[in-house]
């Protein structure tokens, strides 16, 4: 006589095992597993040597199977029932507790969708160890400060995961850069990530230069609109004392608002931009009432794989912008084109070759809207305050890795061509040596550069430091 009954209820780590077994011993003919995906190897499960199986042995085997699952991290696994049939067939009905849904909150929609599959995949048996590892990896790879996961069992025994993700809300970036015109410029920025977007606030102020100085604040907000589109808007406001020419000094209070509607295709982005400039000028000879402004709009293309590269030496960056508009000091439509490029190439196991290019062109003849000729890439003449409506500098840096991922030393060479009002085209060549130290999260860069096209052969010491906390 076969009596079916619920034999036991075992509570183990919030799991319930329910066995429905027979009381009589039968000769074992065959073992069948139902709901078994093979994630845990059960080949070494021991069945009675005498080939007779009873409710007690079935219970022991069930417990052994459950233990194996739990040891491998499948701690929501349970055996729904075991049937010992009179014909000698023993049937184990598994519930491997597959994941039914993953619900992510705390992130923008597009980011939530991406993260879902990286916690645990729908249909995959719930594994606590794998989940822990995936949470650790997500924190590391995406910078989330916390991930809370609630595990809920649904009526059919499957597992529902509710993940609440907290993005790293506070990120402080700090940098210091030596500048030929304004001296030393420390820059602090604070970045906050929210469900509605990202906010970046920055402050900078120069010191240790006698005549020219610059200070400013910036605030930019990035609003994602969909998986691949968004709006970036904000402003930069600055106050400075600057050179009108080699002897004259003017000062200004300015604000530069900007808005860009962007769209991404992978890491390649394009944007429609509109930007303005408002200047309150003091002692600027060309301005009658001291108030000048401009408005431009156009297109921007950009590519930056920082964050996607495991080795920072592989990071590439390309920016190109073409805008058209008007300013209050000149007649007619004006055009500005600006681009930056950074392309690394691996030469050998320890050596790289990094190409850099910076290009600026404007149709504007007024100094206020032009660029300084000498910057980091053409740093040779620290006391030369030339501005230019056209400047192109190309260079190469050859970093040699002295200590893996930490210390790099190498030569650098730059060649620049620029146009100066009333003087025509001129060129500049510079060469030097740089040292870069990059412990985790911090980057220190030093360079000593000579203007090799200039008779005086004055060297210029350049430095920059940046870190994120």
């Amino acid at each position: 006589m076969t009596i079916r009954f619920i034999l036991n209820i075992i509570i183990c780590a919030s799991l319930i095992f329910i066995y429905a077994v027979t009381l009589d011993a039968v000769e074992l003919k065959e073992v069948k597993y139902y709901g078994y995906s093979g994630v845990v190897d059960l080949k070494d499960i021991y069945f009675p040597a005498d080939q007779e199986i009873t409710d007690e042995t079935a219970k022991r085997i069930s417990a052994e199977i459950t233990r194996k699952y739990h040891e491998r991290g499948y701690r929501a696994f349970y055996i729904e029932r075991v049937l010992v049939k009179s014909d000698g067939v023993v049937e184990f009905y598994f519930n491997e507790s597959a994941v039914s849904h993953v619900i992510v909150s705390g992130l923008p929609g597009n980011e939530s969708d991406r993260i879902k599959g990286e916690l645990l995949k729908k249909g995959e048996p719930y594994n606590e160890e794998i989940l822990k590892k995936n949470i650790t990896a997500l924190k590391s790879n995406y910078g989330y400060s916390n991930i809370h996961v609630n595990v809920e069992r649904e009526a059919d025994g499957r597992i529902l995961l509710r993940a609440e993700i907290v993005k790293r809300r506070k990120r402080l970036n700090f940098s210091v850069q030596g500048d030929a015109i304004y001296g030393t410029i420390p820059h602090v920025s604070w970045q906050g990530d929210y469900e509605w977007g990202n906010l970046i606030f920055g402050f900078y102020s120069s010191f240790n230069q006698r005549s020219a100085d610059i200070s400013g604040i910036s605030l930019f907000i990035d609003f994602p609109l969909s998986v691949s589109t968004g709006v970036l808007t904000g402003f930069n406001s600055q106050w400075r004392s600057d050179y009108y020419d080699e002897t004259g000094i003017f000062s200004d209070r300015s604000i530069f608002p900007e808005i860009a509607l962007y769209s991404m295709s992978g890491l390649l982005g394009r944007a429609v931009v509109a930007k303005g400039e408002y200047y309150r000028l003091y002692d600027y000879p060309e301005s009658e009432d001291g108030i000048e402004y401009s408005g431009f709009s156009g297109l921007r293309f950009f590519y930056n794989d920082r964050g996607y590269r495991i080795d920072r030496r592989d990071e590439r960056n390309v920016n190109f912008e073409i805008i058209a508009g008007k300013n209050s000091l000149e007649d007619g439509l004006q055009i500005r084109i600006e681009s930056d490029l950074l392309l690394p190439f691996r030469l050998s196991r320890r050596g790289d070759l990094v190409l850099k290019n910076s290009f600026f062109l404007t149709s504007e003849k007024e100094r206020l809207f032009q660029r300084y000729v000498f910057n980091y890439q053409l740093p040779g003449r620290s006391d030369d305050y030339l501005t230019s409506d056209f400047r192109n500098s190309s260079g190469v840096e050859i970093p040699l890795e002295i200590y893996p991922s930490l210390l790099y030393i190498g030569p650098l060479f730059y060649y620049g061509i620029f146009r100066v009002e009333g003087r025509g085209y001129e060129s500049s060549r510079s060469a030097g040596l740089f040292i870069s130290v990059a412990p985790q999260g911090i980057s220190l860069n030093f360079a000593y550069v000579y203007d090799i096209s200039w008779d005086m052969k004055d060297g210029v010491f350049l430095f920059s430091m940046s870190g994120a906390f």
């Binding site: 190897d41 040891e71 991406r114 599959g117 990286e118 995949k121 160890e129 650790t136 990896a137 924190k139 590391s140 790879n141 992978g266 890491l267 964050g307 996607y308 590269r309 495991i310 080795d311 592989d314 190439f345 691996r346 030469l347 196991r349 070759l353 893996p404 991922s405 930490l406 412990p439 985790q440």
Partner: protein, 247 residues
């Protein structure tokens, strides 16, 4: 630290030196080349650079078979025996009689050439192979680049030397396209038309940051006779057996 070494070497072992590709026919020829490869043995020296600035150096003897079996006997800084076979990965410390075991499925132990061969033969359902074109490496040279897309949306990108003789780089990408693992192969030696890298540089993202290793092989011998028993590992009752996955 131990965790990093384990995970690193785990990745290292299952992706070891090996192999190639070109447009799909080039890929086939490379697979054929490597099908001639039966065994390799030599000395190994590994340098491990951790995100916290610590450094470790290991050295020993290395042997592998074309079917994916592997054994490393480390002598420095301490005796360690690593065996990877069809039953899993065994990492044994004789001095302390401690054994770490990872009984992974056989497919997890699949070597890169075997993996590439399988997808080229079966292709389709869960895995797809795509030729992405030619990309610069170095300054004037262009490599053939292939991408292997897996069902879980992760991928493997393989850079192949212009003439299709050997693999230059391998990247493992997550579903968002971020590089999780980067391997650079260099200093090839040729043996009967097979090019084997004797230096492998590896970058791996871990929870504590990017770990980097440099592995150098010397005294490499190809297709010499290696007994299968070299890759056996017997667990003795005296061993303190622990799960490698827990470390």
């Amino acid at each position: 630290m131990k965790k990093n070494i384990f995970s690193l070497l785990f990745i290292f072992i299952f992706s070891i030196p090996l192999f190639p590709g070109e447009k799909l026919d080039l890929m086939e020829s490379i697979i054929k080349n490597y099908a001639q490869f039966n065994s390799i043995s030599g000395s190994i020296e590994q340098h491990i650079f951790n995100p916290d600035g610590s450094y470790h150096r290991l050295s020993g003897d290395y042997a592998a078979s074309g079917s994916g079996l592997l054994r490393i006997d480390y002598y420095s800084p301490s005796r360690q025996t690593v065996v990877s076979n069809s039953e899993g990965l065994f990492w044994y410390y004789p001095d302390r009689d401690i054994l770490f075991v990872s009984k992974s499925g056989s497919s997890k132990n699949e070597s890169l050439p075997a993996f590439i061969k399988r997808i080229s033969e079966k292709g389709g359902d869960n895995i797809s192979l795509k030729y992405e074109g030619r990309f610069f490496y170095g300054f004037f040279r262009r490599a053939h680049v292939y991408r292997i897309n897996l069902k879980n949306k992760t991928g493997i990108r393989v850079w192949v030397e212009p003439e299709g003789r050997y693999i230059l780089r391998k990247y493992v990408l997550d579903s968002a396209g971020r590089e999780i693992v980067k391997e650079l192969y260099s200093d090839y030696i040729e043996s009967d038309g097979i090019y084997i890298p004797s230096v492998i540089e590896l970058h791996v993202r871990t929870a504590s940051g990017t770990v980097r290793t440099l592995t150098e092989y010397t005294n490499l011998r190809v297709n010499n006779v290696i007994k299968d028993s070299l890759f056996d590992f017997r667990i003795k009752s005296s061993m303190d057996v622990r799960s490698l996955d827990d470390n």
